[in-house]
Amino acid sequence: MTQAKGSPASPGPAGWSEYNLPDAQGHFGQFGGRFVAETLMHALDELEAVYRERMGDAAFQAQFKEELRSYVGRPTPLYHAERLSAELGGAQVYMKREDLNHTGAHKVNSALGQALLAKHMGKRRIIAETGAGQHGVASATVAARLGLECVVYMGEEDVRRQSPNVYRMKLLGATVVPVTSGSKTLKDAMNEAMRDWVTNVDHTHYIIGTVAGPHPYPMIVRDFQSVIGEETRAQCLETLGRLPDTLVACVGGGSNALGLFYPFIRDESVRLVGVEAGGYGIASGQHAAPLSAGVPGVLHGNRTYLMEDEDGQIIATHSVSAGLDYPGVGPEHAFLKDAQRAEYVAVTDDDALAAFHHVTRKEGIIPALETSHALAWILEHAPKLPKDHVIVVNLSGRGDKDIFTIAEREGISL
């Protein structure tokens, strides 16, 4: 991609110890940026200005911290999965329990931060896109908490697949709009949310659910989610007296992974592993793994790795996990891949499901199907690592929402 501007994929002359991206235009090397219709440019400038002001504002920070503590339930524990570790016979597996957050996943960290920003910008209405429904539920929840109007866009296909979450959002007072255009899934929900935003930009804030979208979203969502990695870092130092050796997380858009990774990017000794949705296998073409098998392109406001055809059309993705079923990925992940600071691998539907059952039985924790992709990597790799090697996996969400999908796949009617 000779046409892209910005530096090649390197952390800069000072190396990773001074890592400080994005640049002023929202670039992570050649990735990121702000590729949206002109009507939205001013809203993005405004959001960035308000965000930078509030990040330096002690009162806002204190408010965010207190909401995370008393409403979300942070800090979440760092749990030593001793039975699993003993069985695998290699590395010690620790789980960062984001599943214990209010609403059951990491999504609420960023939804809460953004809803507080919306409040400070004087916007009375929030919109969100959702795939599996976790980000939609988190947005509807914080909207109820802060007294904001909430509209959630959700692909018609996902509305059908995730009806419990649709009902949950409605109970919380949100309007759920089924999206019937395109492939009727997460990417189309995001298109529709952008169309709403461009129309209602004066009084509406768009809460993007992942570290993608136009600048400043990848930065804002990352920063709000970084509470995961910051806590993990402090917990490791406190209980183990040292940093972990390997961090593992599933990657769809990549917000739970970046939330865990970001506070460790400068520590080059810490290995970062992102696990994408391999669907029926990379060779089948039926997957949702743009970092493993995609090319750089521009979609939803940023340049990143995408799944597209020879003509640049975005192609249909497949994953058993609705939350990973997205053809793009956050631009910072694209950068970390090219710079070889993080490695990205793919895990198939079948391996993720096997890990789901294994961890559920072994540890008494029902993980989300998304999270199960990261757990599958651990089941394969932990046995090969020494006993004093510490792996932290982001247990990004709980699997209650997935029991219907799993029962259906296994021919059980509930």
Binding site: K5, R34, A37, T39, H42, L306, E310, G312
Partner: protein
């Protein structure tokens, strides 16, 4: 003088407004496009924007989304669109032809490859809805030597400082987005547009075309006095989707002529 400048200048000299029309290439099927281009030109279109179908047209309203989906059912590619443009250009050297779409189509082909192919096809300009000027240097470097104008949009939310920066890079014409919304939206407000266009007028000598939400002769007539031309898109795409192949050319020509007459009546 480029074909775009010539067309706008000729209308201005005659005390008229330019008619800019839009259709999605390959919609509802590939063989519909060349007859539709001829019909729009015959009906009095000065500029035709040929939409490059994209899987994720995030700035479009329902009509143009549906048009993209119809074209993509026939797997219409950017190369196909360029071939359609070239076929039209071989028989028409007067009507300005602008490609309109999303950055990923051009990025996938490669900027230089695209610029060369577009020049060979007789393309006069390019509008990429999701390419802001601050990201456009590399592409503009490839287009400029071939006299292909990269046309930028200004919106009701564009600040004055930003408008100045955009207009410094603009060429061909300026596309003024008349409302906050997607293409084909229904809440256009002439007074609001007039108030916002006034300061832009003093910043540029380029022609200003007003688009988004102009659907018929009546709205065209109301908006025309405010700029140098109007853009009509969704209303054409809706007709393409509703009409049988053999009915399309006559309907499109008569619709374009009704817009032309409305514009002439406004002056």
């Amino acid at each position: 003088m480029s074909r775009l400048e010539t067309r706008f200048a000729a209308r201005k000299a005659a005390g008229q407004k330019a008619l800019v029309t839009y259709l999605v290439a390959g919609d509802p099927e590939p063989q519909a496009t060349l007859p539709a281009l001829r019909a729009l030109a015959a009906g009095g279109a000065d500029v035709i924007e040929l939409g490059v179908p994209f899987s994720d047209p995030e700035a479009e309203g329902p009509d143009i989304q549906a048009g993209c989906e119809r074209a993509l059912r026939h797997a219409v590619t950017l190369r196909d669109v360029l071939a359609m443009a070239k076929a039209f250009r071989q028989e028409n050297s007067e009507t300005a032809l602008v490609l309109m779409g999303y950055l990923n189509s051009v990025e996938r082909m490669g900027y230089e490859t695209f610029a060369k192919a577009a020049a060979e096809a007789g393309i006069d300009g390019l509008i990429l809805v999701n390419l802001p000027p601050e990201e456009a240097d590399a592409l503009q470097t490839c287009l400029a030597p071939r006299d292909i104008d990269l046309i930028f949009l200004l919106a009701p939310t564009t600040t004055e400082a930003r408008a100045r920066a955009i207009l410094e890079r603009a060429s061909g014409f300026v596309y003024y987005v008349s409302l906050k919304g997607t293409t084909g939206a229904g809440h256009i407000d002439p007074e609001d547009v007039a108030a916002r266009l006034a300061p832009l007028r003093s910043m540029t000598d380029l022609p200003i075309a007003i688009g988004f939400g102009i659907r018929d002769g009546e709205t065209a007539q109301r908006m025309a006095p405010l700029g140098d031309g109007v853009v009509v898109g969704s209303a054409i795409v809706r007709r393409m989707g509703a009409l049988a192949l053999e009915e399309q050319p006559a309907e499109l020509e008569s619709f374009a002529r009704s817009l032309r007459e409305a514009l002439d009546a406004s002056c």
